[in-house]
């Protein structure tokens, strides 16, 4: 899995490419958690545009970060999920608590307006 991180003010944007499973969920946690703690991140945008596969391990780590951010008053946003990935996200029911956006740009606009 390829994982890129960048900042827009107090928003951390994580762009992932590859398959989001048991192995990559661990890598995601290892990269993202220190950022959330060290930089006191308020908002996390996860760009799933390059993700070709996701299972409950990938979903679990997204929900885990959502819970962490909620505890500190922050928010999590999902951007650019492709149809097969989006199908899994929808089946899991996480769209009830996390909003999906078509692109990273749209997600960042939503963060600014929130």
């Amino acid at each position: 899995m390829n994982l890129e991180k960048k900042y827009h003010r107090d928003t951390l944007v994580i762009k992932i490419a590859g398959e989001f499973d048991l192995v990559t969920a661990e890598e995601f946690r290892r990269v993202v958690d220190p950022e959330l703690e060290r930089r006191q991140v308020r908002n996390l945008v996860i760009n799933l545009g390059g993700v070709s596969f996701i299972d409950s391990s990938g979903l679990g780590v997204i929900i885990g970060r959502y819970k962490k951010l909620s505890q500190s008053g922050g928010k999590l946003w999902i951007a650019a999920a492709r149809p097969p990935v989006r199908k899994i996200l929808e089946l899991s029911g996480i769209q009830k608590i996390i909003r999906f956006y078509e692109s990273e740009k749209q997600a960042l606009e939503a963060v600014r307006e929130a």
Binding site: E19, D21, V23, D55, S56, S57, I63, P84
Partner: protein
């Protein structure tokens, strides 16, 4: 001749992708749609991940066995481990039930949603066998034969 595979591998995370790849490749030889293949990959990923995370949580070098064969109009996939087993299968299959933090308890939900049949046999201390059955779509067969 009907195809049959059997693969034994160490229960480490890296091999979850290997199991997915093998099943996607086998399903590609049959008349499965791309959407069916995606669903098969998710179900296999969940079953193999369960063996690694739960069955072998205390035994990192445990062996997982992946078997698959065609049974008339279906693909049958069997994932077995010799791990700690599941004491209460019904509880383990409940949506949102998980013994681990950061996990959603959706593994069996995905397997049930995407497969036509799911069977779980388990004995504490002996291991678990998950059998997944996916019907080969008759529509896809028609589509493929019209291409020939």
């Amino acid at each position: 001749m009907e195809n049959k595979i059997r693969l034994e591998f160490t229960g480490i995370g890296e091999n979850v992708a290997l199991a997915r790849l093998v099943i996607a490749s086998l399903a590609g030889q049959l008349n499965f749609t791309l959407s069916d293949i995606e669903e098969l990959k998710v179900a296999v990923s969940e079953a193999v991940s369960n063996s690694i995370i739960h069955a072998y949580s205390a035994v990192p070098s445990g062996i997982v066995i992946l078997e698959a064969w065609q049974d008339t109009d279906s693909l049958v996939i069997r994932i077995s481990d010799m791990g700690k087993g599941i004491a209460d299968i019904q509880k383990a299959m409940e949506p949102a039930y998980s013994t681990e933090p950061d996990r959603m308890g959706l593994g069996f939900v995905f397997m049930q949603s995407f497969m036509d049949d799911l069977q779980v046999d388990s004995e504490p201390g002996k291991g678990t066998t998950v059998t997944l059955v996916k019907k080969i779509s008759s529509d896809a067969g028609t589509f493929n034969s019209s291409q020939n």
